[in-house]
Structure formats: structure tokens, C-alpha cells
Symmetry: C2
Subunit: 189 residues, 2 copies
């Protein structure tokens, strides 16, 4: 997605240690116009897939996932990274959060994920794949099916993309980053 | 907002202890069509106010705030409830999170909140006002101005609305709940 790649080159910053900072337009401050374009691009790429529900994880996944759900006319469900005391029929998976610097139990209420539902997962980043694998686990616990996973930014030099390919998951990433070595942003294609 | 009140009566559930569960359409699973209507209603109610930026707090505030920011054509900034290690020029306030059951430091990067900016704060719930008061604190630290606060649901029987009125903050709440006594949902108007 050219518009996104240009924006990453213009406003993204590489901090070293494989960290790409896009908090001026994607995951802290959000540009709604860009987010609408991101939503349309995902809907286009998954145009041949029947989707019953969009799933994401708090907090940075909510904006792009809401745009997709809105365009598809289906409900959005977001997984929580800390289990609220009032959640019912919780389904959970242990994940390692890179940004939060902790292990935590990501969870959704089983009330909102039904057997046989066709689920499209949308998130801002694919890096080591910990969250994505946790989502596969949770959706499987519900007897539902992940029909695809869409990421705004994929760090192709980390292991997540390969792990999802091994599981046969269809992945669409709007910007694939091959390397952040020497604080240079190099796209995969 | 009649559509919202009807939805709360149909799909909301009162759990006792002043807890209103709206997780089937508002703050866990999200109905994008309802969220679009909520966005339009806020834009209508704050139609006479010039807004430079929409501000919210993760995670449940992001969906309604994104709809508002998208309609107004301004950026959205969401405060984080846990300070990421990579945040720059952090501005923070201590809040008590009812749902998370903890005290935490809510923060935003001062890079994205500028002196003189006119900020509209949008959130899903107004209850005891802890988050809203923290937002006033943070925006004040930046030398910016809160021009209004919009809440999807206000629990009018808790102290938040009165605390904001004392500060002279303009508040618009789309559904005001007068009481949840005996697990009956009673609206204020």
C-alpha cells in the first residue's frame, strides 16, 4: 500500500533495536483519513472471503479493525490484555507483549465468539507473532475459524510471518519491512 | 440519544453494584453502525465548537472517538493507561481505574498535545470522573484547552458529572443513567 509506505518513510522513525516508531499517525496519535484508506485496502484484499466478525486486540488494533468492520457491516470484537473481573465465559491465551514488556493473558468473552463463525483478525503490527498465535488458540477454543489475518505493518525480519505461514494462515500485510538495520527503513517489496 | 437508550434497554444488563454491562455492543464487542450514529450525534452536539484534536483513553474510548475524529477531519490521540518505555515527552496523571481495579498513570506524549490546541475529549463512560479529571490535568500541563467532553454513557448517580460541572467543563452525554438500583436501568431524562 503505497500511501502507507510513503507515510512510514515521511513520519516513521527508527529508534534502533528493531523499533519502528509510528506513533504520530498509527498507534498513539491516529490520522483518521489514513485509517479509512487502510480499512478500504483490507476490505479489498480480503474481498473474496466471507467474514462474520472482525477480531482485534486492544489498544492499537481497534482503529484499523473498526474501519474494516464498519465497511464490512459486521461486528467488531476486541481481545483484552488484562482479564476484567466482569468478563463472562472467558477464553484466554498467554502472550508476550513486546511493547508492554510483560507476559499477560489475552482474553475474550466466549459469549461473542461462536462455533463456526468466520473471523478476520486485524492488528497494527505483526512482529514475533505472539499475539497472532494466541488469537488462533482462542478462536480455536471457541470452535470458530480464522479466515485471514491483516496487519498494517509487518516486520518481515521477525518470526511472526513465517510462524503464520507454517500454520497455513492467510496473511495480508499492508507494509512489509525487510530491515531496520542501521536505522534505515527498508521495505520487503 | 433515543437509538442508544433503546439499545441499552434491549442489550444492556445490570449486574448489581452499579455495574451496567454493555459489552455486547459498546466496549468489548462493538456494533460499528451504532458507533457511526454515536459519532454523528457527538459532532452534532459540539457543532458550534472549533476542535483541533480529539482525545480519548484506551481502550473503549477509541471506537467512538475515532468516529468523531473521522467526521471532524482532525487527528485522534489516545492516552495510554500504562506508560510505554518508548514514549517521548510524557505527560501523565494518576487515575483510579474502576474496571481494571487499580491505580495507574495515564499518559500521552507531549509531542502530540500543543500549547493552545482545542481538544475535544470523548470516552465511553463517565462515572466517578477520575479519568476525566486526569485528562484536564494532562491537557493543562500541555498548555492546551479542553473545549468539551462527550461520553456515550453517563452514570449520573456517581460523582463525575458534578465534578466536571464544578470545573465549568462543557459535557455532553448521550445516555444519562439516573439509577441502576434493584438492577433496573432508569434514565435521567
Amino acid at each position: 500500500m503505497e500511501l502507507l509506505k510513503q507515510r512510514i518513510l515521511t513520519d516513521g522513525r527508527c529508534l534502533g533495536g528493531g523499533i519502528l516508531k509510528v506513533d504520530s499517525f498509527l498507534n498513539h496519535q491516529i490520522d483518521p483519513k489514513l485509517m479509512e484508506s487502510i480499512g478500504r485496502e483490507f476490505v479489498c484484499r480480503f474481498g473474496d472471503v466471507r467474514v462474520d466478525k472482525v477480531l482485534t486486540v486492544e489498544a492499537s488494533g481497534i482503529a484499523p479493525a473498526l474501519m474494516v468492520a464498519s465497511l464490512l457491516g459486521v461486528d467488531l470484537l476486541f481481545a483484552k490484555k488484562k482479564q476484567p473481573s466482569t468478563i463472562e465465559a472467558p477464553l484466554s491465551a498467554r502472550i508476550t507483549s513486546f511493547t508492554k514488556g510483560c507476559e499477560c493473558d489475552m482474553c475474550v468473552s466466549g459469549n461473542f465468539l461462536k462455533q463456526g463463525e468466520r473471523v478476520l483478525f486485524i492488528d497494527d503490527f505483526l512482529a514475533n507473532g505472539s499475539v497472532a498465535l494466541g488469537i488462533l488458540d482462542i478462536v480455536s477454543q471457541a470452535g470458530a475459524e480464522v479466515v485471514g489475518m491483516g496487519f498494517v505493518v509487518e516486520k518481515s525480519f521477525q518470526s511472526g510471518a513465517a510462524l503464520l505461514a507454517e500454520r497455513g494462515v492467510r496473511v495480508e500485510s499492508l507494509a512489509r519491512i525487510a530491515s531496520l538495520d542501521n536505522c534505515q527503513i527498508l521495505f520487503a517489496e
